[in-house]
């Protein structure tokens, strides 16, 4: 665990750096292989960059909007480097909206674009696992299994290692060019299904899951819903494709 990388007098938050590295590597990989999915690499890169920048700005502005009085007393704190002053959900929502507007204006098609972005999502999921390992978050539940690790005063499942292995396996499966699943969109939807299934399975070994009624783990419920939606949409995409004679693998 290394939440802070101390370089001289500068304390660098290692988990945030790992996430940024994952975004950069993921976008680079997606851009390089965008042509496999009949997507323009430059448009894909620009869309990802616009989504990222607008997402970061929106995350801060959403936070300011949620707690206006804290910032009215300290308006310059809007530009603070504190990571705790961001609203990730707000950033995600607005970043996605801005990216969608850009994609529509450029005439980018939804499913091929999502297929082209799938390797980026897979790399990001792997980076997320490493970020958890660095920060110590998403730690495991107590266990007596021989591969348990001493962590926070107990022998625990190495849940971050499980997460990294699972994400690496999914990345291997979804490396660009390894699969050519027809029709467009199914590649992305299979990724959603596999990632949701992995989360549903691995969440059981975590020691810090948010809990709801009857002791059910919230992330598992969310993952199950995503898995169901992914399976349904994938079946629908595959069904609509098979009902049209002569459709090629890259048609939308």
């Amino acid at each position: 665990m290394m939440p802070i990388l101390q370089v001289g007098p500068v304390a660098i938050p290692l988990p945030a750096i790992l996430i940024l590295l994952g975004i950069w590597l993921g976008i680079s990989l997606a851009e390089r292989h965008a042509h496999h999915y009949t997507t323009d690499p430059d448009q894909l890169f620009n869309m990802a960059l616009i989504a990222l920048v607008s997402g970061v700005i929106a995350a801060r502005l959403t936070y300011v909007a949620r707690f206006p009085s804290a910032f009215s007393q300290n308006p310059l704190d809007i530009f603070s480097r504190n990571l705790g002053l961001f609203d990730p959900i707000g950033g995600l929502v607005f970043g996605t909206i801005i990216a969608t507007i850009y994609a529509q204006r450029k005439g980018m098609r939804l499913w091929p674009t999502l297929d082209a972005l799938t390797p980026a999502f897979a790399v990001l999921a792997l980076a997320y696992g490493f970020a958890h390992l660095a920060s110590g978050e998403a730690f495991g539940a107590a266990t007596s299994l021989p591969w348990g690790v001493e962590w926070w005063n107990a022998r625990r499942h190495p849940s971050q290692i499980y997460e990294i292995f699972g994400a690496a396996l999914i990345l291997f499966i979804f490396l660009p060019g390894r699969r050519n699943i027809a029709p467009s969109g199914v590649y992305f939807l299979y990724f959603v299904c596999l990632t949701s299934g992995l989360r549903l399975f691995l969440e059981a070994f975590r020691g810090d899951s948010p809990i709801t009624i009857w002791g059910l783990r919230v992330p598992q419920i969310v993952a199950w819903v995503l898995l169901a939606a992914g399976l349904w949409l994938a079946a629908k995409r595959a069904g609509s494709h098979s009902s049209i004679p002569g459709t090629s693998s890259q048609e939308n």
């Binding site: 007393q73 300290n74 898995l227």
Partner: protein
Amino acid sequence: MLKLDRKKWVAVFILLVGLTWIWLSRVPPGTITASKPEQPRQGFSAPRFALATTRGDVIALEDLRGKAVIINLWTSWCPPCRAEMPALQNVYELYKEDGLEILAVNSTIQDTPDAAQAFAEEYGLSFPILLDMDGAVSELYQLKSLPTTYFVDQQGDIREVVLGGPMAEALLLVRVQQLLGVQP
């Protein structure tokens, strides 16, 4: 058509297995309310300690149960520690009456009591300055970066850990309002 139907059945089977796994891996009710172990991280109970202040009083964290507590580990020579102290003082003045306590634990093993005292006077700090002479609390809280701040709720559980600094006053205000459950 037969192939599609088989796929649907496979999907239904996967979803049923998922539901079963969710139920089997639920957290047993008894363990949710069990007392949390003491560890210096979010979601755990804040490790107990007692330290002498620069004025010679001894303050124990356990005695502050029922109050929202900010534990700030700092030294007088650390620039971000110096930068965030005025914000801590402002927030303390605003919310002291609502039940906020700030324990500024000087990592004296890397500093000196005189420097800590001079720093407190220079910045007009009115919250207690605790001296961690032998570094025991710094070790107990696994200090990795200066400053490090722990937000502890009224039950003695750590709600958030902020590594490094300086913390913006807006961040402090929001976290303290959330801890105290007060409207801004």
